[in-house]
Subunit: 572 residues, 2 copies
Amino acid sequence: MPPLHRALPALRRIRLANNTFQQQSSRLGLQHTSRQAVAYPLAHQIRWQRTASRSEGEGQPTPSEPAPPARSGSKNIKYTSESYPQMQRDSRFKELDKSDVEHFRSILGESSSAIIDGVTQEASNEDLEGYNADWMRKYRGHARLVLKPESTEQVSKILKYCNDNMIAVNPQGGNTGLVGGSVPVFDEVVINLARMSKIRSFDDVSGIFVADAGVILESADSYLAERGYIFPLDLGAKGSCQLGGNVATNAGGLRLLRYGSLHGNILGLEAVLPDGTILDDLSKLRKNNTGYDLKQLFIGGEGTIGIVTALSILCPQRSPAVNVAYFGLQSYEKAQEAFREAKKQLSEILSAFEMMDGQSQNLYARASGAKLPLEEEYPFYCLIETSGSNTDHDSEKLNTFLEHVMGEEIVSDGVVAQDETQVQSLWACREGVSEASQHWGGVYKYDLSIPLPQLYDLVAEARTRFEESGLMSKEDEGKAVLDVVGYGHMGDSNLHLNVACRRYDKAVEKVLEPWVYEWVAERHGSISAEHGLGLAKKEFIGYSRSETMVKLMKQIKNFYDPKGIMNPYKYI
Amino acid sequence: MPPLHRALPALRRIRLANNTFQQQSSRLGLQHTSRQAVAYPLAHQIRWQRTASRSEGEGQPTPSEPAPPARSGSKNIKYTSESYPQMQRDSRFKELDKSDVEHFRSILGESSSAIIDGVTQEASNEDLEGYNADWMRKYRGHARLVLKPESTEQVSKILKYCNDNMIAVNPQGGNTGLVGGSVPVFDEVVINLARMSKIRSFDDVSGIFVADAGVILESADSYLAERGYIFPLDLGAKGSCQLGGNVATNAGGLRLLRYGSLHGNILGLEAVLPDGTILDDLSKLRKNNTGYDLKQLFIGGEGTIGIVTALSILCPQRSPAVNVAYFGLQSYEKAQEAFREAKKQLSEILSAFEMMDGQSQNLYARASGAKLPLEEEYPFYCLIETSGSNTDHDSEKLNTFLEHVMGEEIVSDGVVAQDETQVQSLWACREGVSEASQHWGGVYKYDLSIPLPQLYDLVAEARTRFEESGLMSKEDEGKAVLDVVGYGHMGDSNLHLNVACRRYDKAVEKVLEPWVYEWVAERHGSISAEHGLGLAKKEFIGYSRSETMVKLMKQIKNFYDPKGIMNPYKYI
C-alpha cells in the first residue's frame, strides 16, 4: 500500500471565487487544460474547436458566436434521410412557398438577422448548414428556412401559422444535443431561439433567476457568479447550449448530485403551444400549490409539444471553497465503498463523485499526451469534488475521509489539487475521456442509468464480447475497435459506455445492439439517463418504458400537438 | 443591546441520533413538549389528541391507529352541503345500490376491514364519521361506503367499475388535509389507502426508498432513521398523513428549504387512472430521460386525475448534528437581514429559517402557559436550525454567524438549545402558534407565498384593517377577533396569516376576503403555497393563475377524467 503522504500533504484550500486560473503547469507535471477551452493535441483533429466537457465529455462549438456557429465541412456529413432510408418525409406537411416566407417576414420584421431564407432567396448551404447539421456530424437535415424570433409573441404567431398550415417545425437552442433532436430531418422550419437572450430578473435574497430561453448557460452562470450564486446545472456544452434547450432536454450534468434535477429547481416556465397558446407560468415562487404542474411536461419534452421561451429557476449560493481529489482503486467494489464513505463523511459538501476505469484513463493519456496524476496504474479511478462555505472545515472533512479510505485500504493512492490549475488538470482526466474515445476515428456512445452494484458489469461484459468477436485490438490497425471504456457520474448511477473505434462498422454495431439495451432493460435501468431520446433512441424507448407508459405519452403528444408539427420523426 | 453571552455560552452540540429525549424540563425553564405528542394545556380543549405541528401548525390525530382515527363528536360538524348550499350533488353520478356493494366485495374479498358498508348494512354514522369529517371540523360529507383496497390491482378494478358506472370517488390518505380535499362532499365512495402500507424496498447506497401510498410519513421516516437516512419531507401531520397524500398534495413543510420539493425528489410513481389503467412508472433511477415526465401531474394533482398507489423517492442522509437557535429582532427588515446572513454563513448546513411575529409568540405563551425563551419582548422572532455531518464545524459556523448578527445589531437577543429538550422547547414556540391561534374558539387561516420583502406587509395591513373595523380586542370578549398573527417558513417565502377569533363571524370574513386574495394576486404571490386547493380554494385559483393556465388545467382534468368521477366538486 502506498504511503498516505502522497495524498495528505497535498491537501490545501482552493478558492474558486472566479473562473480565471493560472496558465502555468502544475507541480504534478500535469498538462494544463481549462474547463472553458480545452486545447490538447487531439482538438485539431476535430473540425470545430471545442470546450472542455464537464458532463458526458461532449466537445462543443466555441462560444464565440451566441449560436449556432458555422459548421464548416458539414457538406461531408451524410443527410439523416440517407442514413435512415426507411424514414420518409410526412407528406401531410406543407412544402414552403413564397407566401409562407412573406408571412413569417411580416411577423419577424425586416431585421436581416431574423430570417435565413433558402426558399425564395439563394441562401447558401453554408448559411443554413449550422442549423441543419449537429455538432457530432451524425445528423443533417434539409431545412431551407430558419426563423429567429425575438419575443414570445413572435414565437406564438409563428407556431399558430405553422399549425394552421401544417408546416412542420424544429425548435432549436444551442444545437448541442447528442441524439439528433436539435436538427431537422427533412425540410422542417428551424425556429432558433438565439435572439431571445435577455436575463429578465434576479433576486439576490431568494436566488430566483428569470431569463429568456435563448440565454447561453455559461452567460447565466457568469451573471450569477458575480452575484455570489451558481446555476444549478453545469455541463460540457455550457459555452453554447441555451437554457431553453437545457429545460427541453432536462439536462443532467455535473451538479445534479448536489442540487438535484431541473424538475425540482425550475419554478416557472413560459412556453408556446403548437396552436400559439402561451403557457404563462413564469412563477417566481418557491411554493405554489394551485393546480396541476403542467410546466413539468415541457421539462424533458424535447420540443415536441411546445417551445420553451423563458424560465424561472431557483439558484443556490456559490460555494467559496472547492476541493478536488483523484484516487486509484483496485476494484469496482472499492469504488462503491469509497462512494459510500464519501456520502457519509463528506455529506453536505460532496458536489461530485465521478468514476473512470483504467482503460478510459489510459485512452485519455494516449490521446492527449497528458501524464496521469498517479505514478502507478489502477483498474479504477475516482474523482471527488467538495464545495462548501468554509475552507478549513471542508479540508478537515476531506482529510478525515482520506485518512479513513486509505487506512482501510479502500483507496490505493490519491492526490488532492493544490491550486486551481491542478483542479482543472484533475477534472481534465474525467472530462477528456469523451474526446479521447473518438480520437482514432469514431465512437459508439451509450448514456445509461444502471443500479449501482451492477453498473460496471456492462462494461466488463462488453469488453469480453469484443475480445471474443475478434474485432478489437489496441495495436492492430486492421481491427475496427480500439478499446471499450466506462466512466460517468457514479453519484447518479449514470454510466457512459464508449466503444472507441478506428472506423464505423456494422459488425461492431451488431455486437452492441440490441444487446446493450436488453442488458439495461433486464436490470430496470434507463437507455437514456441524461441525453434524451431525440432521433437516436426513438425506436428504443420500449427498453426503458412499459407499453402503457409509451401509450400514455403518445396520448399527451397527440393531445397538445394533434397535427404532429412539433419536432416530427423524433422522441416517441 | 443585551450582552452576547446569552447566546454564545449556551452553544453546545446536540445529537439527535434517535428521537427519544429526556422528559425533564430544560434549564431555560421552558415547559417540555415533544414533536411527537404536544400535551400543553390547550390540547384537552380539542376533541381529538394531536401531535405537534412541525409545518403549518396543524394539530393532528394521534397515530395510534394507522388511519384514520375515529372522529368523536363529528356529529356536531356541519355538513359541507349545508355550509355551501349553492353546491349541488351532480345528478349524473349513480347512487349506490346493493349490486355495486356486491361487486366491490367481489374485488376486495371477505376481510371485514376492507369495506365499511352503510349502503346495504347498518354501518353506524360513528363508523363512517372518521372518513366523512376532516380534522379541522370544517368539512363533512355524506359517504355511505368506504373501500380499503390492499393492492394496486384492487384499486384499478374499483376505479374501472366506478368509471364504467358513473360512481363518484373520493381518494383518501391520512385525511389530514387543510382545505377539505380529503373528505367527500356528498355520497362519493371513499377509497382509503390505509391498508396499502408496505415498504417495498430501500437501497442504502443510493438512498432510494420505494413504498406503498398508505405508509404513514412518520413510519417511513423512522424506518429511514434506523438506516441513517431521512425522508426529505417533514410536517406536523407526520404521525397520521400518508405518503400517497403527501404526493397528491405536493406537501411542502419544514425540510423543503434544505431538500427541495417533491417534484425533484420523487423518482417514480405508480398510480391508477380513472379507467383503471395502471401508470407503472416506479423508476428507481436518479436519471431517466425517456419521454414525458407524466408522474409530475399526479404530484399536487390532489386525487383528481388518478390515485397514487406507490412512490419511489430519493432520501438524503440523516445529519448527525442538529442545532437550533431562537432570536428576538427589532423589525421585519432585521429578520430579512438575518435570513440573508444565515444563507451566506450557514449555507449548506441551514435546514430551517422560520419567522414568528411578537403577537404570535404572545398568543402561544398565553394559550400554552409556556414561558418564552427570551426575557424581553421583541416585535419579531426567528428560529434557525442547522443540520450537518460534523458537530464541531456546525457549532463553529453557528458561533461565527451569531457573533456577526449580534455584533452588527441585526439580532437583539437569542438563545441556542443545549440539549434535545431545549430543541423541542424552541421548536414548540413555532409549532404551537397554529393551535394557539384557534384556542379561543376559531381561526381564519391563510397559507400564502409572497415575495420576501413584502411578506409581512400583509399581516400589518390586516391588523390595521381589524383595528379600524372595531372587530378586534385582546380583552373585550364581545369582539369577534382576538389578534392577527403572522409566521411561517421565511426560507421559502411562505407566510401563514392567522386571525385568531372568539367565534366565526361573517363580518370578520368580509374584512378578509377577497381582500387577502387580491393583495396576494397584486404581488404575484400564491393563494396556496403548500396546502393545495381542495374545496376551500377552488373558487380562488384565478387569483394565482391566469385564465389560460386554468383553461389548460381543466383540459388535463377532462383528458384524464372525462366523466369527472375523481374527487368531484374540488380543485379547479
